[in-house]
Symmetry: C2
Subunit: 430 residues, 2 copies
């Protein structure tokens, strides 16, 4: 049964994703109406540059007055595709106060103000959906928020940034250095002109904050996420990973810690075994593992970005908000009821892969091994090779608190026989 | 905010999954209450044998009067864990008429009567959730019903039966025949005493019917699903698959056909390349690919069965139904609005791997090749080997309608020089 009066949608921003959403609303109007139970109508499109030609969008709908659009009486749902903190936050709040539901892909805003926005939405009986904010088209937030609502999630681990995955992939397959692979990614449109948000791990860290908050029902801020990008990953690191049957991926890892009484969230490059399913995630694809008490280990895989995949996630949310509007209900809110604190990186238990340039003389290995032992760090493997009076020592540790591993590295640097700590990388995925 | 008056849950059946659900409702009471917004209370447990000891369940709650339990005034949600068609269907209908929401894992019932049950649920404003019916703990139905509600799904392809996957795995890794591998599966508890539902593909076919209905928003009955089990898969088939860089899996495949104007659903063993992600899905795990217009290719992976994983899916649904109860809304219904017809197997476009025992004399290959050509079937590869006056011919075709491939095989059987069609298997996953 499809009612006649349409649900009105205000679109904020009409870039790559926004224009796809508008297009699909038109081309798939009948399917959307059947699935929602009422037709959709584009109430208006707020943009900064109204003079740009926008194929398929009625120019009469285009406005620069976003505030006026979201506070219109007849708007049922606001689709926020502007990104960034302001004016997006103010417009979303205005939409809630106007009783409209909101669909957004704004990870930066959600990572910073998710709980506050959820509270305002709840206060006004409005919906807030944002599947597209993490891992593009991959249904991940809805499974975490809803499918696993009766389970206890212990770990979320995955590749959530396609740009860095593409760059690391290129370094792996071609032996190129970081700079060369970045140039290639930029030329092919996989990296933006200013790639900082991706390569420094800010994008992945925002996603980790959102994932950790939802998975553990607590509040995790962007600043709570330990963040390390890929700019210092070298061709030598990747070659070294390969020698130990591993590859290098930028991982987002959210875990329960301290017997479940706290949580940790971090983003950093890590070596993972080639046999691990994440090792074969190529190019701009994303993949996320979720481990839960009862469900066991689940994996979600798919395109992590791009206009069409992101629009798919936005439209799925739009259908949900509209259905809720018609049915008089609301989607699941977000509650940080567990109030689990976020532990610092030093408490995270992990493994290190450490490359040292050392003096090529007897006793150096024993001296280094003693430093590890002094810090309570157990060594898994050591590989030693020498040339021209210099030797290199590659040590892989067993699992230990990150603080102990950091202290070990600091102590190694103090040794006269250690000329350089050539690289340090965590090892995950076992 | 958690209200004080509890939501009351009637549990029908207390077997492996039901008892886990009851246990988790107790051990996770606080978390569930926080996530729902109200505490849960077990109103009663209907069982056939009330004298059996059930750890952790108050004997006063146990009853044999399932009908009386589901029609109690105070019951908010019914969790149906009995399975099979009756009395499950009658009890679910009674629950809807009583205004109660229903959570079930009953794939047989959903495959047979899903649309009718959804209609009754809608009529009474009640919820029907059944994530656990397909692929255990893997969030798959919710993503299809909700996350992809704004997209067009073109294909669902996956491993949805753990028992057969375990058996095929054992045949692959040990070279054992089907019977031996089945015995092992039975001894280890992976196969039931009567394994028919699994090994003949009935279980997977019910899941395919449910998946196709949800994915394409149409009605697909169990009888509409082409079904072939694994009982005739031989060690030779698996060895032959291996020689062409493939492995054998029991696949459930639902596709749009005929330019999107019809759908097909089928379950059969198929050879897939070892490089395909489904090839590495081992043991009792399930994995499902979903291909959609905008989202692209998604994969969902996890434990496909077992008490705890299934209980996780049931509890996720229970939280959803309870939230909807409190919020006054309803979850997404199911609509077969597209009314796409189901095409017969003959219309499915696939590839065949055919092993023939032929006379070892000149001209046989040419004669066989002519039969393929006569039926419009193009040959991809041929491998010929001879011994003792007999030769074997292994042909892999290009893609063609199944009807043409079947007719080709029938015509080959008529040739004097073809002594036996040793095996036929479809090739998928490219």
């Amino acid at each position: 049964m499809v009612r006649t009066r349409p649900l009105k949608v205000a679109l904020l921003g009409c870039g790559v994703v926004g224009s796809q959403v508008a297009r699909l609303m038109t081309t798939h109007a009948e399917d959307l109406a059947a699935r929602i139970g009422a037709p959709l109508e584009l109430a208006g499109v707020a943009v900064r540059r109204p003079d740009r030609v926008r194929a398929g969008i009625d120019p009469a709908l285009v406005t620069t007055d976003a505030e006026g659009l979201v506070t219109r009486d007849d708007v049922d749902v606001v689709v926020e595709m502007i990104g960034g903190i302001e004016p997006a936050r103010g417009l979303i709040e205005a939409a809630f106060k106007n009783g409209a539901g909101v669909v957004t892909a704004n990870k930066a805003l959600l990572a910073q103000d998710g709980p506050a926005l959820h509270a305002i939405a709840a206060e006004h009986g409005a919906d807030l959906y944002y599947e597209a904010a993490v891992a593009g088209a991959i249904p991940l937030l809805r499974p975490l928020r809803e499918s696993l609502a009766g389970d206890t999630v212990n770990r979320v681990l995955g590749i959530v940034n396609g740009t860095t995955n593409f760059i690391l992939d290129r370094m792996e397959s071609s032996g190129a250095g970081y700079g060369e692979a970045l140039d290639e990614a930029t030329a092919l449109g996989y990296a933006e002109a200013d790639p900082t948000a991706d390569v420094e791990g800010f994008d992945a860290a925002a996603k980790a904050a959102i994932l950790a908050g939802i998975a553990f029902h607590t509040r995790v801020r962007l600043d709570d996420v330990h963040r390390q990008g890929i700019t210092e990953v070298t061709a030598a690191d990747i070659a070294s990973a390969r020698r130990m049957g591993c590859t290098v991926k930028l991982l987002a890892i959210c875990e329960r810690a301290g017997d479940g009484r706290s949580v940790t969230a971090r983003v950093h490059p890590a070596m993972i075994p080639l046999s691990h399913p994440l090792a074969s995630v190529k190019g701009a694809y994303n993949a996320v593992f979720v481990e839960a008490d009862s469900a066991g280990q689940l994996m979600f895989y798919g395109p992590g970005a791009g206009g069409a995949p992101t629009a798919s996630a936005v439209l799925g949310d739009l259908v949900a908000v509209c259905r809720n509007k018609l049915g008089g209900g609301r989607g699941p809110g977000e509650s940080a009821y567990t109030q689990l604190p976020v532990s610092p990186m030093g408490d995270v238990v992990t493994r290190y892969h450490i490359s040292l340039d050392v003096a090529d003389k007897p006793g150096v290995l024993a001296q280094c091994a003693l430093v590890f032992a002094d810090h309570g760090v157990s060594i898994d493997t050591v590989r030693q090779s020498g040339k021209d009076g210099e030797a290199s020592l590659v040590v892989v540790t067993h699992r230990a608190p990150d603080a102990a591993l950091t202290a070990t590295v600091a102590a190694l640097r103090e040794l006269d026989t250690v000329h350089d700590v050539a690289s340090i990388m965590r090892v995950e995925g076992e």
